[in-house]
Amino acid sequence: MSIKVLQTFEMENCKAVTTPMSTSYYMSIDEAGTAVEQTKYRGLIGFLLYLTASRPDIMFVVCLCARFQSSPRESHFKAAKRSLKYLKRTTFVGLWYPSHSPIHLVGYSDSDFVGCKLDRKRTSGTCHLLGSSLISWHNKRQACVALSMIETEYIAARSCCA
């Protein structure tokens, strides 16, 4: 599937990168940037969202890019295409479920430190592991503006058990 995405966006010969997103890059609304065709951007997000079903490693960047679908700019498109460069390097990567793993359910919850400076909302991420296999994961921008780190972690923990 990821090969098909690369072909659709004519990125078969792109340079491969090791991570889906640069740590220094901050995604903003970028009103001054050149506008990108909305259909094209949404198409790419749609492809990537489909891939998150088996590739949780690109979950964060896809969810971040999907927030700018209403008025996509060149910079947003570039960030989304970086995840394609990552996919090129990791085409055969997927979830591995070993047959002899212990049955032991664990939940993890975490939140970031004001990931979206635009509306000061934070992102919570949770995942559940059964033994050593990942069975459920989610990434969500929190609905309310949290006033403290405790509050965000508390909300993230709640979304983990709900």
Binding site: T18, V93, W96, Y97, Y108, D110, N139, I150, A157
Partner: protein, 91 residues
């Protein structure tokens, strides 16, 4: 899960903030916690029964990969921990 013959009593829920964990355990109201929406206090009901909120160091927090862009080494480490591996390296 009982149908599969698996009995899970208390699911550990790992969180990397001790203050948040303490908040789930006590019913104390504090000036800073009074704004938290009521639906989020659901965890207080659950943490006494089905799950147990525990502490984990930030380095071992696997959910980190879903919340922020990570540097290469950390990203690879968490990716392997989550069981996302290259099928070409398996055989």
């Amino acid at each position: 899960m009982d149908d599969f013959g698996l009995h899970v009593s208390k699911v550990p829920l790992l969180c990397d903030n001790t203050s948040a964990i303490n908040l789930t355990k006590s019913q104390i109201q504090h000036s800073r916690t009074k704004h938290i929406e009521i639906r989020h206090h659901f965890i207080r009901d659950v943490s006494n029964g089905d799950c147990e909120v525990k502490f984990i160091e930030t380095e071992k927090q696997l959910a980190d990969i879903f919340t922020k862009p990570l540097p290469k080494d950390k990203f690879f480490l968490l990716r392997n921990e989550l069981g996302i591996v290259d099928s070409q390296n398996l055989s």
